[in-house]
Symmetry: C2
Subunit: 110 residues, 2 copies
DNA sequence: TGCCTTGTTCAAGGTTTATTGAACAATGGA
DNA sequence: TCCATTGTTCAATAAACCTTGAACAAGGCA
């Protein structure tokens, strides 16, 4: 088992975080996670954003950048935003990003 | 002349901005511009970050993403952060990003 | 005029990215 | 046990990325 590597808090790199979010799909995933921080979300709840394979790829990107944590639970994976870790490493950044995305989502008025 | 196209304020896209900043070189360029917002900067002041050609490429990326404006002046180009435009489009984002970068620059302690 | 400086463009190259479909592993329930 | 569900891995592909060096354009100054 390779074991679902997550970077430590102080291994989270700003440019990696921004590169991970510099993609509409991953930005939408993170925004969705932020909107549902109370609930535990699984990969299959994001199928509107892409195929299973594509999602697996994007979740790996987000996990390696330190944005999300992935915890196996039975046959599925519970996904969550690393809100506390990110707030500690980059205070205010996540809120700022999410507010900006909410104010101008990808599919704004034509 | 193709004419140095700059996106309008409402054409600036969040994921494009983040993708542009998801690169150490461009992040460092923007941080430098933010630190010297009073002065007018030219391309050659950034040679520590890469070759002429590489810089030309990165400046084009930043310009197309809406982060900087480039104004020809004689034989050189005056580069500036689109601070006001960005603050209008994404309030607080630029300050947040710059603060995060300043708190954990690329070349932190080994 | 001629030269120097500043910066762009081009073609080439190697790397990384994002997507797809097929095959696989593991859990859980009938 | 068999089967459905969940999600990963693999190989392949097309596109985008970043860097390089050589060549070019244009302004300023002698």
């Amino acid at each position: 088992m390779t074991g679902l590597a997550h970077p430590d808090i102080d291994e989270i790199v700003l440019s990696d975080v921004l590169a991970a979010l510099g993609d509409e799909t991953r930005l939408a995933i993170v925004a969705t996670l932020a909107r549902n921080e109370h609930a535990a979300m699984t990969c299959s709840q994001f199928l509107e954003f892409g195929s299973k394979t594509a999602l697996s790829y994007h979740f790996a990107k987000l996990r390696e950048a330190g944005l999300i944590s992935v915890r196996p639970e039975g046959t599925r994976r519970l996904i969550s935003l690393r809100r506390a870790d990110l707030d500690q490493r980059f205070p205010g950044l996540l809120d700022s990003l999410i507010a900006c995305h909410a104010a101008s989502p990808a599919g704004a008025e034509p």
